[in-house]
Symmetry: C2
Subunit: 570 residues, 2 copies
Amino acid sequence: MRLSRFSLHTTKETPADAEIVSHQLMLRAGMIRRLAAGLYTWTPLGLRVLRRVEAIVREEMNAAGALELLMPAVQPAELWQESGRWDAMGPLMLRMQDRHEREYCFGPTHEEVITDLVRRDVRSYRQLPINLYQIQTKFRDEIRPRFGVMRAREFLMKDAYSFHMDAADLQREYDNMRAAYCRIFERLGLEYRVVAADPGDIGGSKSEEFHVLANSGEDELAVSDTGSYAANVEAAALPAPAVERPAPQSERAVVDTPGITTIDGLCQALSIPAEKTMKSVVVDGADGDPVLLLLRGDHQLNPIKAERLPAVAAPLAFADEAVIRRHFGAGPGSLGPVGADVRVIADHGVAALADFVTGANEDGRHLTGVNWGRDLPEPEFADLRNAMAGDPSPDGQGTLTLVRGIEVGHIFQLGRKYSESMQLKVLDEDGRDITPEMGCYGIGVSRIVGGAIEQCHDDNGILWPDAIAPFTLLICPIKADKSQRVRDAAGALYEACRSAGVNVALDDRGLRPGPMFADADLIGVPHRIVVGERGLDAGTLEYKARSADNATEIPHDMDAVLKAIGHART
Amino acid sequence: MRLSRFSLHTTKETPADAEIVSHQLMLRAGMIRRLAAGLYTWTPLGLRVLRRVEAIVREEMNAAGALELLMPAVQPAELWQESGRWDAMGPLMLRMQDRHEREYCFGPTHEEVITDLVRRDVRSYRQLPINLYQIQTKFRDEIRPRFGVMRAREFLMKDAYSFHMDAADLQREYDNMRAAYCRIFERLGLEYRVVAADPGDIGGSKSEEFHVLANSGEDELAVSDTGSYAANVEAAALPAPAVERPAPQSERAVVDTPGITTIDGLCQALSIPAEKTMKSVVVDGADGDPVLLLLRGDHQLNPIKAERLPAVAAPLAFADEAVIRRHFGAGPGSLGPVGADVRVIADHGVAALADFVTGANEDGRHLTGVNWGRDLPEPEFADLRNAMAGDPSPDGQGTLTLVRGIEVGHIFQLGRKYSESMQLKVLDEDGRDITPEMGCYGIGVSRIVGGAIEQCHDDNGILWPDAIAPFTLLICPIKADKSQRVRDAAGALYEACRSAGVNVALDDRGLRPGPMFADADLIGVPHRIVVGERGLDAGTLEYKARSADNATEIPHDMDAVLKAIGHART
């Protein structure tokens, strides 16, 4: 591509409304343009990257035996009513009526449509297993679309759906897809993790997420230092630790803690570590009465785990202060389990505490030296908290560290959730009706582009992995306007690279070196070759990898160029 | 592709609701599946064809210098209000509100979005010309979606938009796109015509349509026998013929024609040819009063031409019978210009009539021997009718014949319609604000698939052109279940073809020859090779082109196979 004929619009200014680096760099490099909240046009530059990601995803899905199809974006309400999700999806689903006032949505996902397709065309076990996928535009009406393509409303997704005669065959295909996803992220050239996940609203049993690692990632991942365990913090199950509770040493006492309502404040006032304190969280119970959840002072409540407790109302809701005062006689900040007139559920981390500090259920007062059994009954115990760095790994091997990730893939064993509600039936070898097992496998194709930038950038711009760069090589002629020789040499090199199958661009826009190199760094082309008078005299070219600090001289011949950029002749 | 692992669902039955052959065959071959009215899933088989069409379109657009981007499907109302089309589009546009009750549409086209993009990024003449295109999903809420993918509501379109400093540069790019389109349709292997067209609602001056020829086509095309002229019948301008009007021969007389209200009935009753009669059509006038349009009895009114007359109301509406009776004193079937109390506009074809027959403006009566000038004043003349076979070609060379076509492409010179209404301005070399000229260029990618089938089929199924066939070659082993030797030979041939880059399928489903060949014919694979015991004994394979009546024997070696299917080794 000659950049003089390419629509490149870069800017130096960081757009005010872009909060994260990938959104900023995609706007500055001119990869996307905002049309409305959460709606972006992919410019020619941006689309080149998106298409390369898409191509890798498609090749690996095909190689794994999945079959590509294409389902409509607009879906009739009836199918969603059948599965029970028309109401459940709420305002996340963009709804519309056609000219005959029939109801439709812009599909946020396609479980219903694919199940309907399969129940009409598949009748016999001979036609299973099958894995069908598409790369298609979805819409989710996010409350607060932001972060550019990372949380856009309209986005490009690869969604695959598999159907099986039994759970063992589903497990086989799930493993097949897991392996295909690993190949995809390896080929993309991104550092990633597969972590155990919560299946969430989509339903089903087992699910795992694929995360691109980046410090800015929205998700926290707990990874064992032995590499044997990885889970989204929200899904990391923490079994009861095998720690003995020490015997009580102190007497229970009341201390005045006027104005202190936080763990930090309490620790400072009493000169104790947070590990000796207890956090009291009051939530609505399933039966209408409040429930007191207890955590160690340095632990964080995991709302998903809490919501899953039968005693707790779903969705999780914190109790009103009026309700709290009625049951505890005090407000948040001074609450505790001693004498509380509610059901008490404590995190396992609380079980090992002795002589601990907790709210006295009197405003401005706490209790010290509290002990289970002696001062109050043993509570129910449950897994209620997020994993922390230093926790023993749930698989018993090593300890956990925390890293941040961006979710770009999610694979699910759905089981029979959709095949049952939509009455998909297939005859088995003995002529009996079987309700097939389903799996589904998603990749956020457009989100990967943002995730790659979050992982791969520096102060000057993007550092694309070779596999998804808009151009592999950028040729920059110096003072070409004044030198026919430079123009000719750069043009000849450009044509030779094209012939060799290199994804090459020539910056023939006539810019001065400063702005030309700044653009090259900003748009993140992995390899740059400078053609100038001095090099032509010496028979050399100046090569610089985007990731390297300095340029090097290479001989002015194609073999040297191809070697420098790591390109095998096609 | 091994068909045992491919999701192929063919049926013998012709679906009841499919009116045209492409819709029937696409359903029978299992290329598409209906989700709701005008909404279709492209199955793996159908998508293979769609993607091949898409790839050819993309390659030629890129080769012509256009740059691909991707705009959102969902578009904010504000842009359409700016261009004035939010109301004008009416119920054809699918509208919706997001969770914040902001209005959007599912884009039926993208003039507004692209103009908005360009006005934000393009400031200088140095950035023009530019031609940006996308291959993207559109939605048009047709009153009566039908004919499968030919008139679907959701469909895949290639839409390109170009911007220019002046009309001459627009003309240059228009010619460039016209040539690219010709290459596209030639590569697709379809018989097509480029015809002059009416720009219609999209606006602008010049436009041409690309039609795939097929007897079932919705559009009638007028083509000169010299090949120098071609236009959509509705757009074929017919100049006043240079024919002298004969002198009157007969006296005017009143004849009773009870119950006769059609031209056919009148010709039969009076034993005269339709060319001696006159058709009277009363439409609403622009000023509220009715207007009488006159045509020769054998000519057809062209509503688009009529609507374009300043005296006629747009959109064209036929006058109510009450209004007609008030102005004419008679009802439709007995109307005529003699003594009519309305404005009269006659088609040029009427100008040469003498001694003609027309309604008497009395129910059940006609006038014979009527003559312009003598019996009534000369009317205004205009071009009001459709072209007919045998008409002189408007370019003065030869005569017209009529063929039928399916519109699959449309190129427009939009001029400044959108750049003006949306205030796109660019600085010229002298620093003055210029409102750029625009062109737009559309191809109905999904419609081409249906159009190709309308043109290329026989009683047994589809006959794909090689360029867009789902598979180029189908290998059919005979009685493979009983012969390891046949299985091995078919498998080896399949692998050899794959290695040679042939788009090959192996029918390893274990069907008997009859159903296997029926499927091969139905899905339209252009080349078929049968592997059987007898051939293996003789060292031969049985080759049959889908379009040929009979099979031939070819030597059992790869060179012979590749030669038979016309495949150059890759």
